[in-house]
Amino acid sequence: MTLPLPAPIVRWLAAVGRVARITAEHAGELGLLSWRIMVAIAQLKVSRHDISTQLYIMGVQSLPIVFVTASLAGIVTSQQGGYQLISSSPQYILGTLVVQSVILELAPLLTAIVLVGRIGARITAELGTMVVSEQIDAFESLGRDPVAILAAPRLIAGVITMPLLVGFADVIGIVAGMIAANIDVGMGTETFIYGARLFWHSWDLVYGLSKSVVFGFAIPLIAVHMGLRTRGGAEGVGLTTTQAVMFMILTILILDAMFPPLLLQ
């Protein structure tokens, strides 16, 4: 049977169909993986030792890079804010601007992006290598559940670590912004804090940290999922790792864009 449609349209429809199929496939597999992780956790099959190892790798070892990122974010916001606001608004607004930008957006988003590179890529490459060297098969052949052994500790550690790192980034970013405001436009600490408190909502902090919990779930989940899908040798590991990084960054940005309409009304 031939379709009475011109070739470009057929090709275009086929491409749409392919994208839809791949999206549905990933969504289904991610759902199944989350379910299997939850079951493993509920059955207490996750080793505490593995969780603490992952907490150390994801949390403690990320502190330096999160420190650098958050300070720079605070400093740049403060400098650019100072430049834009000068003479048009009262000076203390700079305090509001820095605190709100850091807590609502910069700390959660930048920390997540940093963790995609530091943790996400690492998990995908690690698990991908285990797939192509048949270590995942080996776990299964020995009656062990690779999801409980490998995926669950990483996901638990991600969900715990991320809000803590973002809290740390909040503090660092604000302090760095405050110092920069002092050096740059000569604003005193009291003025900065006055501005920060004037428009302070505790909800903002909850909002920023909720984001970080979601990111802390999404990054290891996607990383593990992509790692386990790896096929075909060292080249396959390289390929899935890059794909995983793109996938994680896009997901983070999309989730980030979904938060304001959902939680900031």
Binding site: S133, Q135, D137, A138, F139, E140, L142, R144
Partner: protein, 257 residues
């Protein structure tokens, strides 16, 4: 006894298209076939590491694909799997790698001393010096040693069935002969059923009770080594001849080079 019934598996192209095969209890069975014909895929379907598109595998009356998770777990307990590329866990020491071959609840029950004793025994069987290798991690071992640690991991849980995916490929002649002797000894001493995938046709014909050849997605031949050598099928003949030529060449190189 392992029974494969009408196993079908395709990736982008069909790999297995209707494999029926039976391995008797206590038997040593070799599976030959050109590279890429799906020998590893067939072996993996035995314990659900790859799920066939159609067909079922039955092990001692347990259906791998229709028996549910508990049957699958029981099957995996019965079966030891020696992977083509060793597949050692590279973050664990040899001790922990081999100990992983014990069922989870057994491992939790064992004292450290008892655990070391069991691992020690398995390493002894594969002719590794336990004192030297126990604390090493896989990247500190040679290829041949890794293979033998992989075998130790597969046998430490005392399986009734052993699946060997090319245990001698990539080994030097001395180690090849050692591993072949080991396979034979294990089959006799531990009375396990062995299904051996190998490129070493001469070695396989020497040690096995029955052999089969996989080609083009189905079994091309299944019978005794004597029948295999005498088989009139030209594809089988070509395979036997090439294997013989390779074996002769190996001997020449061993002697003169």
């Amino acid at each position: 006894m392992i029974t494969y019934r009408d196993i079908h598996k395709s990736f982008d192209l069909p790999v297995l298209s209707g494999v029926d095969m039976m391995v008797e209890t206590g038997e040593m069975f070799a599976l030959f076939g050109p590279s890429g014909t799906g020998k590893s895929v067939l072996l993996k379907t035995t314990i659900g590491l790859m799920i066939p598109d159609r067909g079922d595998v039955e092990i001692d009356g347990l259906s791998v694909y229709e028996g549910g998770p508990s049957a699958l777990l029981e099957v995996r307990r019965k079966v030891g799997y020696v992977f083509q590329h060793s597949a050692l866990f590279d973050s664990l020491t040899v001790l922990d790698n081999v100990a992983m071959g014990l069922p989870e609840e057994v491992l939790q029950r064992l004292s450290t001393i008892e655990k070391v004793r069991r691992v020690w025994e398995a390493l002894d069987i594969v002719n590794l010096e336990p004192k030297e290798v126990l604390a090493k991690i896989p990247s500190e071992l040679s290829g041949g040693m890794k293979k033998r640690v992989g075998i130790a991991r597969a046998i430490v849980g005392r399986p009734e069935i052993l699946l060997w995916d090319e245990p001698t490929t990539g080994l030097d002649p001395v180690n090849t002969a050692a591993v072949e002797r080991l396979i034979k000894r294990l089959s006799k001493e531990l009375e396990v059923t062995s299904l051996l995938v190998t490129h070493d046709v001469e070695g396989g014909l020497d040690i096995c009770d029955r052999v089969a050849m996989l080609d083009g997605g189905t079994l091309r031949f299944c019978g005794t080594p004597v029948e295999f050598r005498a088989c009139p099928d030209p594809v089988v003949q070509a395979f036997v001849d090439r294997a013989a030529a390779e074996a002769a060449l190996d001997m020449v190189t061993d002697t003169y080079v």
